[in-house]
Symmetry: C2
Subunit: 263 residues, 2 copies
């Protein structure tokens, strides 16, 4: 894929241009290719696969990473990828899209809510091999050092050998407090859900409000799941798709086809 | 499921409380159960699976549907479902969640961008059987009459017999201009993508903007796809899931597990 020229790498995230995670991802990416960065100009965590239809979007060049073309975008992470591909890089082949490094895990069901992974997924829908990277540590001063050689290795391998059987990898890196990274595991997405709580309050104008909080909960922690790999100190790599069909249910639902309200 | 009591049906959408589509869905739902409506207080099309984390959410009772408990929510469609389940209906079992009727198709890849289907998917993650309904007509005055008996039949059937093999159905109804509805087909999600264009302009303050537009494009229109069913005048029913793992790629990527940057 890289024969004869340096690969073109699109870097994005959902935390914005000044998050330490994207800085690290740009540093790794610039070692191996030509880099363009398009990131949201405001925090876009948990924006899922949202796109901006009803408003214009702004794109402003910023000088954040020396010698690297970078743009702040007023839209969502998915908007960033659309603008990068269609406006900034029109007609150029993107060899790899990397999103992150997210401050916080996107394992299990969190892939659906995550702006980080949605950006990578949008690129994968366009046929671009894409990787979302997340570190299991929400702290702004999270330590990305132990993860760095692993991320470099994954990216180099994908750039050299492609991504057989998928266009999207959801890569999660264990919390640094778990000790040295044990290795990598190719996993399936664990079943899980958020045990929601809403903090109820009253605002200064006397109006009631609800504020979302809660705990992530999963019992699907057996071998082969991303949650299991992370708990054991391994990086979880989940090959992911955008076909949401529950194929095995198609024959089970076939009897619905005989329903007709007019008979 | 309905033994001994009327089923509890949660109705939501992404177009807000005053869209004709939700009015029709409430009318159908109230024939067969106890209904609660929670819908966004602003248009939330294409908001995907976004949730509101950084802001408080408001919930206001509204008297829109006579005799029906209804609330406007300041958040996303997914927020609506979370608040309905956790705040408004705490500890009560929801028998069915229906979202829509969306003004516009959510077939193929549009399931990912759609606020309508994301709301239903959020309920399905919580184990609630859920259906997203969409009509292939963006017009505000779209004709929901031909679809109505079919929607009623689908909902009655699911309430009586459950939803084998899945918790979420993505139901799309052909454009009324295609003539009488031919029946229902259980389908897979067609591959497809948006051919993006951005309208470029300059705002009154002299700042450049981009505005997303484009055309949906698919070559995956063979028998068995939702796009094929719709083109033939059938209602497409795609059983859907929230496990995005590309399972078949797991063995293909296994060699990545032997990579180690420190060896």
């Amino acid at each position: 894929m890289t024969r004869g020229r340096r690969p073109l790498i699109l870097v994005t995230n959902d935390d914005g241009m000044f998050a330490p995670g994207i800085k690290r991802l740009v540093e790794i990416s610039r070692e191996m290719g030509e880099v363009i960065v398009v990131a949201p100009n405001s925090p876009q965590s948990a924006k899922g696969h949202a796109v901006t239809l009803a408003d214009p979007i702004r794109l402003n060049p910023v000088n954040v990473f020396q010698g690297i073309e970078a743009y702040e975008c007023s839209g969502t992470p998915v908007d960033c990828v659309k603008l990068a591909k269609n406006i900034l890089l029109k007609n150029r082949k993107i060899d790899l899209c990397v999103s992150g490094i997210n401050h916080g895990s996107n394992a299990s069901i969190n892939i659906l809510y995550s702006g980080t992974i949605s950006a990578a997924m949008e690129a994968s829908i366009e046929g671009i091999e894409s990787i979302g990277f997340s570190l299991e540590d929400y702290a702004l001063n999270a330590d990305f050092d132990p993860a760095t050689p692993w991320i470099r290795t994954i990216m180099e391998n994908i750039l050299s050998n492609g991504m057989p059987g998928t266009k999207l990898l959801n890569v999660n890196i264990p919390h640094p407090s778990l000790g040295p990274i044990q290795g990598m595991r190719i996993c399936r997405q664990a079943e899980g859900r958020w045990e929601e709580e809403f903090v109820e309050g009253v605002d200064p104008r006397g109006q009631k409000f609800y504020w979302l909080t809660g705990n992530f909960n999963t019992h699907d922690t057996g071998e082969g799941t991303d949650i299991h790999a992370l708990r054991e100190g391994y990086i979880s790599v989940v090959p992911s798709l955008h076909d949401l069909t529950q194929h095995r249910a198609i024959p089970q639902l076939k009897s619905l086809e005989s329903l007709n309200p007019h008979v």
